[in-house]
Symmetry: C2
């Protein structure tokens, strides 16, 4: 069965600092014309950072789209300093946001966060053997966050009660839980 | 520590069928002015549908934003027929996309897929006791998909090899794995 749609035209409708938006005209395999709305976003990384006493690091920050303070694992977009290297980006973000470096940094997966309307792909790493960095990088401007540490049991409860709603963070917590027992 | 930003203005920049986009002017707690780009998207549901022989149902479909065929759990947006009821939406989507009804349908969590730029929240259900529906609903127009079933072991391998990249689906697979062993 052929699924591929052919893009027959596209109109940029918004160009921002964080996202670009375009409308695509497509031809479906069945020969129908349709439009697709696509939000372009830079590739990103997220880090399940686990301390020696088996706690995960969470960041508390305001998120305008959901109008609330969220609890999230350290994360950020790939930028010029990373030269397209996802691992370098993870090292940098962990430094900037937590002041830590990891002895072990392993890639877990790469997932598309909102496959219906966006091309954002977040690559998840797990970091262990955390130590204070020698040279701390400055935080991003206009990024205000504070850190906390929670156990797996606490994290699972915070998902169940809706205190943690960020999908990449929930994915990472379930991953951690699945690893614990296999 | 106060994190809340005050929205001091907003400009709609795109209004589509699937998404609306606006730029917000905000005042941070530290008193700085900044802008936030926000993609509005309807609430949605996703369903980890588990068969009596312990396999999950996956859908194969073309996704324009990531330019590839994806493997995803059944999912869809809340619409007028659901009257704002997420469970009713899950029942409808499972019917439309798989032709199945569930004896047991339990809410697992509700997560924001792209908290940095979108307000999309996806509520995850797990469905068990699957039976063919008495009255099948028609599929959405311009939605072409085919179904397959895989075991937990197969699903985890498909995540590890990058055959499954959809974040809500990966989250559901890790959830399934975490439940299996606790």
């Amino acid at each position: 069965m052929d699924f591929e749609e052919k893009v027959t035209g596209h109109q940029p409708v918004f160009s921002g600092h964080l996202i670009d938006v375009e409308v695509q005209d497509v031809l479906t395999p069945a020969g129908n014309h349709a439009t697709r709305e696509v939000v372009h976003h830079a590739p990103a990384v997220a880090i399940l950072a686990l301390t020696d006493d088996d706690q995960m690091i969470l960041e508390q920050q305001w998120r305008a789209p959901v109008k609330q303070v969220t609890l999230e694992i350290p994360a950020g977009k790939v930028d010029d300093r990373d030269q397209g290297d996802l691992r370098a980006c993870a090292v940098r973000e962990l430094n900037e946001e937590t002041g830590l470096a990891a002895e072990h940094l392993d890639q877990v997966n790469a997932t598309a966060s909102s496959v219906g309307f966006s091309d954002e792909v977040i690559t998840l790493f797990v970091a262990r053997g955390l130590r204070p960095v020698d040279h701390a990088l400055p935080k991003d401007q206009d990024e205000e966050l504070s850190l906390l540490k929670v156990s797996l049991k606490e994290a699972l409860e915070m998902v169940a009660t809706g205190q943690i709603i960020d999908m990449k963070t929930v994915m990472a917590i379930y991953y951690w839980a699945s690893q614990r027992v296999n």
